[in-house]
């Protein structure tokens, strides 16, 4: 089946070569980091996690959101998703791989990463994150490949694949819950210590992931002549709408608790991002960009005419994705450290090598996604071709 990824149009080859070039650029920067140390990044004693862990957090959400296609199709027999469920599963695979790469890029001693397996420590949420993420990767690899292979041969997926699919549904929720627990259980980090962290994570994940799949559907229609179907895209748009409304609601809950209670350990962080704190305000424009994008996107999603418009929906999806990427991939992690436990403000901005490494990892994800989608679309088209010729006879 993989041979289908090896042949393609000129545009396909150019795209793949472009991604390889970006990956090479990221890799050279990673070598610089490897030999110099993490000091090459913008992180410091006070802000000890940054862009890398932010990307991990955001991408776990993207990976988990595959369940928003799997669940309606397999549990509710929502047939319009039949054609695109595989697209969701195939988003999850590169997303989890990117997560692993981002964690590795963030390690001070990547050569010792196996210590996590050599000395398993159940009281560390990080160990559980490794367990659920690797499990989820294996599940999606098996499910995606098997289902597609069966489709290629025109047979129903085996019963064990169905079992794996049912397991993957709660598993998807678990990966993002555990990721939230990484942060939500730390004493002395007021920004993170909130019981709504996991629900908030799931809400924003189920908006950003399906928004990405919608965008990919539009893209496939253009570049691969593959039509996901209007109904499928509109179903996804409804999911994005509900998830976005839930996300905004969760954030309102957060803001109410923080600002009505006025407890400084919690409030200082929010002041820092919304108004600036003690003259430090580098995150204020970033936060407001995310908030305004979220509000506009949610409004446009709720209004049926804009949600149903093929020209507005892609823009809305870009807004959703960008807003939530800023919120989760940038602000959520960094601001947990600002102000520090000693109420000091050390500002953070990613450095160029740090950004280059991150872009390189995103390019690895994009490359894996491209190859997987190429296979999936080729198999789909072949099936359609057989169906048409069979019908003609």
């Amino acid at each position: 089946m993989f041979e289908k990824a090896l042949t393609g149009s000129k545009g396909y080859y150019i795209w793949v070569l472009f991604l390889l070039a970006v990956i090479g650029f990221g890799a050279t920067n990673y070598l610089r980091q490897y030999f110099y140390g993490l000091g090459i990044t913008g992180m410091s004693k006070d802000v000890s996690w940054g862009l890398y862990i932010g990307q991990l957090t955001f991408l776990v959400g993207v990976a988990a959101s595959a369940v928003m296609l799997v669940l309606p199709f397999y549990l509710h027999d929502h047939k319009v998703f039949g054609k695109i469920t595989i697209l969701g599963e195939f988003v999850a695979i590169p997303a989890v791989i990117m997560c692993v790469l981002f964690v590795t890029a963030d390690l001070g001693r990547p050569d010792r990463v196996m210590n996590v397996l050599r000395y398993p420590t159940p009281n560390s949420m990080l160990m559980w994150d490794v367990v659920v993420l690797s499990g989820y990767l294996v599940l999606n690899l098996f499910i995606g490949w098997t289902v597609l292979g069966c489709e290629k041969r025109g047979v129903a997926p085996p019963i064990w694949a169905k079992v794996l699919i049912y397991i993957s549904i709660p598993w998807a929720f678990s990966i993002h819950t555990v990721t939230a627990y990484l942060y939500a259980g730390l004493p002395g980090r007021g920004f993170w210590m909130t019981a709504i962290m996991a629900p908030r994570f799931l809400g924003s994940a189920f908006a950003s992931g399906p928004a990405l799949v919608i965008l990919l559907c539009y893209l496939l229609r253009r570049v691969a002549n593959f039509d996901a179907g209007r109904e499928a895209i509109q179903s996804l748009a409804k999911i994005v709408t509900y998830a976005m409304v839930a996300s905004v609601f969760f954030i309102i809950c957060e803001l109410f608790t923080v600002y009505y209670s006025q407890v400084p350990e919690h409030k200082n962080h929010f002041n820092y991002i919304f108004t600036g704190l003690h003259g430090h305000s580098s995150f204020v424009p970033v936060m407001w960009t995310s908030a305004i994008l979220a509000l506009i996107a949610t409004t446009l999603l709720i209004i049926p005419s804009t949600r149903k418009s093929d020209s507005v929906l892609p823009i809305v999806c870009v807004m959703v994705f960008a807003s939530l990427w800023i919120d989760k991939g940038l602000i959520l992690i960094v601001v947990g450290f600002i102000p520090s436990p000693l109420e000091k403000i050390m500002e953070y901005a990613p450095t160029l090598p740090e950004a280059a490494i991150s872009i390189g990892i995103w390019a690895i994800g994009a490359l894996i996604l491209t190859l997987l989608y190429k296979v999936a679309v080729a198999v789909r088209k072949q099936q359609e071709y057989y169906n048409v010729t069979e019908a003609a006879h």
Binding site: G37, S48, T121, E343
Partner: protein, 263 residues
């Protein structure tokens, strides 16, 4: 053919040698071989604790604070990068409001300028009884000893910095880059670290093991700091805590810090 014969003889010879050596090896094993023994002078306790007397530090002046910092950083090969981004600290002076954010009081601060609350406070790892850093470490590279000391295995640490996120006291530092060129004066009694691992105050476990008090405590001339067994009614720390009012940093978090501040 010839080489095969030679190989055979080699293997046979080695085997014979091995068989001959076995009794000797057994004899060594029976004798016990090299064994870890504890220094009879090692200081021991059920629960180590530290007392920092803010009043005495104010009397002694800021040089006294710096003496403690220098003694510690010299004893442990703590590098000085000279910038706040890379810096590593085991013990360092901060404003009272930073050490005890919950004690921040806008009125007292305004009314009592120059009072005790304007004098810097030394902060360091609190060697919490319930350490969040140990709870989150995915490799057990940071662990708690029976006597309460929270220590680091620099050779196991993967540099994930989860412990730095978990510590409510900002007591931990990562080696963001190779620390060795930034060590002013190398102390051969204590290891240096490599880039990419986390470190922090260890309550001078290596000094306790040879019967010496922590370096910072030793550097105090007027008893500004004390160190001892909290479970021993006759220890220095117990006597100080009996006769003085002491507070701890962020006790509300339930980590049970073992550094007490006399105010």
């Amino acid at each position: 053919m010839d080489s095969t014969r030679r190989d055979f003889l080699k293997i046979a010879g080695l085997t014979a040698l091995g068989l001959g050596a076995k009794p000797a090896a057994d004899a060594f094993a029976a004798a016990g071989g090299p064994r870890m023994t504890q220094n009879p002078q090692a200081l021991k306790a059920k629960r180590w604790a530290m007392v920092i007397n803010l009043k005495k530090f104010k009397e002694s002046g800021k040089e006294a604070l710096q003496r403690c910092v220098d003694a510690c950083h010299k004893a442990h090969n703590v590098p000085d990068f000279g910038n706040p981004k890379d810096n590593i600290r085991w013990i360092w002076p901060v404003e009272l409001a930073e050490a005890l954010p919950t004690e921040e009081n806008q009125y007292l601060h305004k009314f009592h300028e120059g009072a005790l609350r304007d004098f810097p406070v030394l902060v360091l790892c609190n060697h919490c009884e319930k350490p969040p850093c140990v709870r989150v470490c995915p490799t057990k590279a940071t662990f708690q000893r029976q006597d309460g000391l929270v220590l680091m295995d620099y050779h196991r640490c993967i540099g994930c910095r989860y412990c730095m996120a978990a510590c409510p006291f900002g007591a931990r530092s990562l080696n963001w880059r190779d620390p060795r060129p930034f060590i002013k004066e190398l102390n051969r009694e204590y290891p240096t670290r490599v880039r990419g691992v986390v470190e922090k105050c260890n309550f001078c476990a290596e000094r306790l093991a040879v019967g010496k008090p922590p370096a910072c405590v030793e550097a105090c001339k007027n008893g500004e700091m004390a160190f001892g067994d909290l479970e021993d009614a006759n220890s220095d720390v117990r006597k100080l805590l009996r006769d003085n009012f002491a507070i701890r940093r962020k006790p509300q978090l339930g980590t049970q810090p073992q550094v007490y501040y006399i105010v």
